[in-house]
Amino acid sequence: MRTYLLRRLLQTIPLLIGISALTFLLLQLAPGDFLATMADNPQISPATIEAMRQRFGLDRPWWVQYLLYLKNVFLHLDFGESFSRHQPVFQVLGTGLSNTLLLASAAAVVTWGLAIPLGVLAAVRQYGWADKSLSFAAFLWLSVPEVLSGLLLLWFAARTGWFPIGGMRDLDYDLFTPLQRMGDLIHHLALPALVVGLVPLASRMRQMRANLLDQLRLDYITTARAKGLPEHRVILNHALRNALNPLITLFGFTLGSLVSGSFVAETIFSWPGLGTLTLEAINTQDQYLVMGSVLMASSVLIAGNLVADLMLAAADPRIRHE
């Protein structure tokens, strides 16, 4: 198990180097650089732009810049500085990442908290009105783009005044008691989490339903029923446990995709996450900030997959990572 973990961790290093090289290359291929927009300011002289280009090292060929970057990363664990903020990139990205993870976790609670019980309900009442209406609702939501659902919920918040219109904290947050702060956070988190969490709900619910139906057709269920076990115990204790197995792998994968999935919702709900920061960094070509955020998002994705593999091993005694 330990060697497996070590091997997986070592594998991520060349993977991350590859990702960073590709990101760097794409950034170089994009027209202009961080100083391009500044050159459009009629008050800044060409000489000043040139001096800044030298200071940021942007006057060197791209491969020299990249090798220097790798050198700083490996020798000093220095991932560079944001051009616009004059701060180390991970200092800039830290709060953004934690806010995004917070939103992603809340969204995961929405997705799985609804997908599992609704999927079970749909399987147990197969072809019943509950099953049909759930499928209809889930697919309807699946076909609504995130931007639209986000704006609709925002409009709802504006009309009713029940929820804040975007943001993460009330202006008087500092004066709140810890309990009020938690309430304030949940209040702000509710709508964006709903938007992000409801997108994968339809497919997760259908998966849960299909898995459970597969299990219910197997012999051990017939045996359990024949023994005279009550139906709820047959489903919850026997069928459900086995039906959850494939979903555990999926859970790990969605952990990674939830980070990228929340970017749209972050913009609409002014949620101060990694997405907002990354988009801004790409637009201004703040190159080391882009690199840092891509590496961070990739690491989360890789970690999500690893967690999924480990969880699967823990849940299913037949699987062992040697």
Binding site: D40, Q43, S45, L154, G166, D184, H187, T267, S270, P272
Partner: protein, 609 residues
């Protein structure tokens, strides 16, 4: 079990819910604990206000740094102008220079030297006195060759082809003397560019070459020492920046009461314009400075019932124009001889023809553009400074306006006629007259203007092909690759909105002299540009406003007679602000609402919109 947990969660939520959202801070009466400085600054305002309250203004993004000397973009400078003061500033209403941390100044007879008397008793937000040593320190930092911040250009002047810095000294604690290497019309605004930071806090960082990474957004708010009316209370990236009053600020009202009136100013981030509008309507924002023209009507209709006021600011300072690619190779390279055009030679021959450019300008139906993409809220503009600029606007500057018949006659006259009857004219050599117009497609206004231009030019027999592209791609085209036909762009306003601030636009060697950028210094491509270069030099070398206005008029007129740029209309700005606040005077210059935040006040103690 599960239901019990759920019930407990709901209960907890209902217990805390009253604390969130609507909970407004209890107001405590303002008490001024600090003695007023000897030299207070009495601020001009409509009416004296009352202390207390909070103003929440929308922002499109949060500041990137709180360091006034290395900051480069508007989201940071919007906050920095609130946090740090300079020796002089401009009055946004009259655009005149006004004293701030300096109480007065005097010019030497030759106009090159200014002696400032600093305000005695002015203090930083930590109570430390602001002296000429601090000012000198800031000048040292700005002119540091290694740090080389972009604002260094403001303290440099070209003399005999070389950039020479201002010289300065601090003979005593309250006197600061600056000498420009030559007469500089903009010496006061240039000095006003330097916002004062505390030497006693930042000198070690400067000596250790860490100045750029000081006063970042990661700096704890309480250790950010400011010189302006506000200090930082809290900062949450991409969320909100909260300012509270600097208890030592030297500004007072007519009754001698210390400013600012408001307890707090909040810059709240709403990335999306529609979201910002929703927040404003829900009362979460008190002011919005980027309303879309198509929404003006709705705002005007709602203002009574929703208790806000739509302020008419007049013409925006942002301009829109197009230009043709007149760039040439300045030296031989890659098989091109010096002097050969960058654009296709056939097209260059049209673009370089003044009559062609004038015909294009006469083909543009500007009123249709105002009725269309501007929703009626636009005005014609013929110069870099629009009619919104009371100090510099000159209604006598003219340019070829819409006259399709004259445009057709002019094109006939230069031999551009439609010989094959396909509706598109051919040049004398038989090439159909067609060119592409590049614009950044993320700007919806420019996209719709480009479509209208296509129709207008088709009516006189010129084929315009709109080419929308990413902004950076376009910038690379007109700045580095130089292989385009024509470009559609705009310029924003400088503060102050003074023609002298546009050196890069007017001078033929400038980077924003778009139609023919970065020409070799002193060797402009056309006689007209040589005249503009000389006029601009004169424009800056005098402090006589009448003479500066005359030179501005003359260079604008040459630019328009040559049609180097084809001017397009400018939008009229409307700014909605909650009616709960007094002394609100939105300006076309940034920051449009908060420029006078020190005197804005909340009219009643409580009450909502």
């Amino acid at each position: 079990m599960r239901t019990r947990v759920m019930a407990a969660c709901l209960l907890a939520l209902s217990l805390v819910a009253p604390g969130c959202g609507g909970g407004k801070r209890a107001e405590t009466a303002y008490v001024d604990h600090e003695p007023l400085p000897t030299d207070t600054m009495t601020v001009r305002m409509d009416e004296p206000g009352r202390h207390g309250g909070r103003f929440v203004v929308g922002a499109t993004s949060s500041p990137k740094t709180f360091n006034p000397i290395v900051a480069n973009e508007t989201s940071s400078s919007d906050l920095i102008t609130q946090l740090y003061a300079a020796l002089v500033d401009i009055d946004y209403l009259t655009q005149e220079d006004i004293p701030v941390l300096a109480k007065s100044w005097s010019f030497s007879p030759d106009g090159r030297t200014v002696t400032f008397q600093l305000r005695r008793g002015a203090r930083f937000s930590d109570g430390h006195p602001i002296t000429s040593e601090d000012v000198k320190f800031c000048f040292d930092v700005v002119l540091d060759p290694e740090l080389h911040p972009s604002m260094q250009d403001a303290l440099m002047m070209p003399v005999g082809g070389k950039a020479v810095p201002y010289t300065y000294s601090a003979p005593d604690s309250y006197t600061f003397v600056v000498t420009a290497p030559a007469t500089d019309a903009l010496i006061l605004p240039h000095i006003g560019n330097v916002r004062i930071v505390p030497k006693h806090v930042l000198e070690p960082a400067f000596r250790q070459k860490r100045f750029a990474s000081s006063y970042t957004t990661a700096t704890p708010p309480e250790s950010l020492v400011t010189s302006g009316p506000w200090r930082l209370k809290s900062y949450l990236e991409n969320q909100q920046t909260v300012l509270e009053r600097n208890p030592y600020w030297c500004g007072v009202d007519a009754k001698g009461k210390r400013l600012p009136y408001l307890d707090e100013v909040v810059f709240r981030v709403a990335k999306d314009q529609d979201v910002a509008a929703q927040m404003f309507h829900a009362g979460e924002l008190d002011g919005l400075d980027n309303v879309k023209p198509e929404d003006y009507r709705q705002y005007l209709a709602d203002q009574k019932s929703k208790n806000f006021t739509v302020y008419d600011v007049g013409a925006s300072f942002n301009t829109h124009f197009l230009w043709f690619n007149l760039n040439r190779f300045h030296q031989a390279e890659k098989g091109h001889k010096a002097g050969t055009p960058r654009a296709e030679p056939t097209k260059y021959a049209w673009f370089a023809n003044r009559d062609f450019r004038r015909a294009v300008s006469m083909a543009v139906d500007r009123e249709a553009i105002i009725r269309g993409p501007f929703y009626g809220y636009g005005v014609k503009t013929w110069s870099v400074l629009t009619s919104g600029n009371a100090r510099w606007y000159d209604s006598t500057i003219t340019a070829p306006d819409f006259d399709p018949a004259a445009a057709k006659a002019l094109l006939d006259q230069i031999g551009f006629t439609d010989r094959n009857g396909d509706g598109v004219r051919e040049d004398p050599a038989g090439h159909p007259v067609a060119f592409t117009l590049s614009f950044n497609s993320d700007n919806k206004l420019r996209a719709s203007i480009a479509t209208l231009l296509q129709d207008d030019l088709a009516k006189v027999g010129i084929k315009l092909i709109p080419a929308g592209m990413d902004f950076n791609t376009m910038v690379t085209k007109f700045r580095h690759e130089l292989d385009y036909d024509a470009c559609l762009l705009g310029l924003g306003s400088a503060v102050p909105a003074d023609p002298g601030m546009g050196a890069n636009f007017w001078k033929s060697s400038g980077l924003t002299h778009y139609w023919d950028i970065s020409q070799p210094e002193g060797r402009p491509d056309t006689p007209a540009e040589a005249r503009i270069d000389a006029l601009f030099q004169r424009h800056l070398a005098t402090t006589d406003l009448a003479e500066r206005k005359a030179t501005f008029r003359e260079m604008s007129q040459i630019l328009n007679d040559e049609c180097f740029v084809v001017w397009l209309p400018t939008s009229i700005m409307k700014i909605p602000v909650s009616s709960r606040f007094g002394n609100v005077h939105p300006s076309p210059m940034p920051h449009r609402i908060m420029w006078n935040s020190d005197r804005i006040y909340q009219k009643q103690a409580s009450g909502t919109r």
